[in-house]
Amino acid sequence: MKLYKKEGNILQILSFQNETVEKGDYLLVEDADAGKALIAQIIDMQFASIPGILEELLRNLPDGGEPIQGEDFDPLEIAPHITYIQDASLLICKIRATIENENLNPSSAWLPSRSQSTIKKLPIPTLLKLAKINGKLPIILGGTKDASLLTMDASSLDGRLNIITGKKETGKSHLSKLLMLNLIGYKATVVIFDLNGEYISLGMTVDEKRNVHHDKIHVLTPSQNFKVALKQLNLHVLLEILIHALHLPGTSAREFRRIWQSLKERDMLNLHDLGEAIRNWHCNQHVRDALYSRYYALVNSGFFTDNIAEAAFLEECLFKAREQGGAIIINLKNTSPIDRQIVVEYLLGKLVELLTSWKLKAVFLFAEEAHLYLRETYWDDIVTRMRHFGIFTTFITNQPDTIRENIYRQADNIFLFNFTNEHDLEVVSRAARVDAETVNSIARDLPPHHCLVLGKAVRDFPMVVKVKALDVKTMGETRLFFKEQNKLAS
């Protein structure tokens, strides 16, 4: 390999057929005289612009487009040299860091010698060692292209905002399960908003036996084993539900506040008395109607109960998880959109309450397709305010444009699966910790289950990993009409 050009932080390197490198690989451009080396990642591969190549190609196709048949007598065996030159490729590389005295710095402000520099492939294990990507709480993400394991530190998710995104069926949920199970292995508390009931069998192996995580997986299904009593509710959480999930107008909300305080003073916070109080409250008829309709929405959700015993499961699970680690899976599979919002509003409010009072240390929140249940104002809350309370969110989506730009800008880690749509890639490339060229070039060619890891987890050295398999029962498979026929055919 030979150094050809450097423009900004882009290197162009001339490579030949016998030098097997691929997109995503790292190269070490070492200038022994300068005592420094550049670490650059291949983000694109092009044919080198060889003079006369067009003539060469045209010459072989003069006979109406068909290659002309013939024999070459080439006693000096020049043909392999011609092929060698013709197949030369130009590697477009992004400079990631400079090594000087075994220290890494992100600078690309120096120019290595074009004639004297040596260029070689940098094995991933060496890079991991140089970049110190390991730590005391390893999470094995999977294998890299050169068959080494890519390990990230669990603490790189701690206090961070993460995004897992990619096309359908590329393995996003699989990765989130992997991260989640590893986190609970390190005694972390994890809460998952499970939109499709994909996580409910995480405590089972593929052959439906209990696995090591079984006792740490707590599945909470709203209206079934997950209910809430009015007495447990904080007024402001209920008001958030009424205003944001059920769109209660401000005037009506003020009346509701008075009703609530009146009931609380009389220790009558239950569903029946709330209904009665609204019915008998002296107020405008429109306000009463508005309050009544919301009251029935709450009652019909089945999420609210007057039985305190029924409503204790969430806290129980959270406290259990606090002691030994665990995942609280909120199964939103059969929950209507409005009820989903009610549940999410309640849960986030509850988490903030528990975290504020230090009853919980911190929570890792995994939110699948969050735009389907998270109200607009919560996005900013989650990435700014709630982070300070100790809610560290991982968004999982196949529609990257549903996540706001400011979330991308603040994301600490991005786990990017395959995308071919340019619009999707453009959205992701707005993230602060990533450059558009890398995203556009590498993510487009990722095979299924391969993920481009960007951000703090890999110390800003983007790496492609094949996410390792999990011995858990997967529930995220798409239901197919022609499944039997396809099975028979295969």
């Binding site: 003539e55 048949q69 070459d72």
Partner: protein, 270 residues
């Protein structure tokens, strides 16, 4: 083609090709590239060795060898003659197209050798047609290929009364051939020994069997294309030489550029 210079001489590469049309498709045999390092010391020996090895020349080897600048052309012509000889020996009842003329008596085209080539071709029932892209023959001050009558092509215009100075000899009858519509006509030499009917039949066969573009046969066009060295091939040959013989490539300073700066057109362009 010259592919480089050494401290003692020149590195050249030559290549030749035969093209034939069979069953509506073109096929080729291409020989080379052959790379030679020619110096003042070895040029004579090299030339004579090749000449005697491939043409079994009954005459004494040439005492005066070409100068260094002429060597690429001279070696290329040796290869061309050898290919022509091989062709006339292997083809039966065909039309054989040569690139160039049937003029002999130059150092490149010994009359004896050219006569032998044409005789072999005739013996095998072949007719040799030689197309020249360039000619110096003039009529009334104009190049013969420029002063063409406005007849509907295809036609041949016979030239008569040409008397070259010895030792130059014309082994073919010379025609101006305008075989298709367009602006171009070519000098066409047809073996002198062939009868007029044979000559006309040969051109008719050519018209019926080969594709002609701008009056020039496709087989000859392909031969040219296949022999031409592209820049890529020159780089590959230089790569071969550096690897095989451990030579180091350096760029010779361009004196024109060096002395005249932006006003120097460079040695190649000058």
């Amino acid at each position: 083609m010259k592919i480089g210079e050494t401290t003692t001489g020149t590195l050249i590469a030559i290549r030749g090709a035969n093209i034939w049309k069979q069953n509506q498709s073109y096929r080729y045999i291409r020989l080379g590239p052959f790379i030679f390092h020619i110096t003042e010391e070895n040029k004579k020996e090299l030339y004579n060795t090749l000449q005697s090895a491939y043409f079994h020349s009954p005459h004494e080897p040439s005492q005066s060898s070409p100068n260094l600048q002429q060597m690429p052309t001279r070696l290329a012509t040796l290869l061309e003659r050898w290919l022509q000889t091989a062709l006339t020996k292997t083809i039966n009842n065909g039309i054989i197209l040569f690139d160039g003329s049937l003029t002999s008596g130059t150092p490149d085209t010994p009359t004896q050798l050219m006569r032998e080539i044409l005789a072999t071709a005739r013996k095998k029932g072949n007719t040799v047609l030689a197309f020249s892209k360039m000619t110096n023959l003039r009529f009334n001050g104009h190049l013969i290929t420029d002063a063409i009558p406005k007849y509907k092509p295809p036609y041949l215009l016979e030239t008569v009364g040409l008397r070259p100075k010895p030792p130059i000899a014309l082994l073919g009858d010379i025609y101006v051939a305008k075989l298709t519509k367009g602006n171009y006509a070519f000098r066409l030499d047809i073996d002198k020994e062939a009868s007029l009917e044979q000559k006309i039949e040969a051109v008719e066969k050519l018209l019926g069997n080969d594709y002609l573009s701008q009056s020039y046969p496709e087989t000859l066009r392909l031969a040219h294309i296949l022999c031409t060295f592209t820049a890529n091939e020159v780089i590959a040959m230089q790569h071969f030489i550096t690897h095989k013989h451990g030579l180091k490539l350096i760029n010779r300073p361009d004196m024109h550029r060096l002395l005249f700066g932006p006003f120097g057109k460079g040695e190649k362009k000058a």
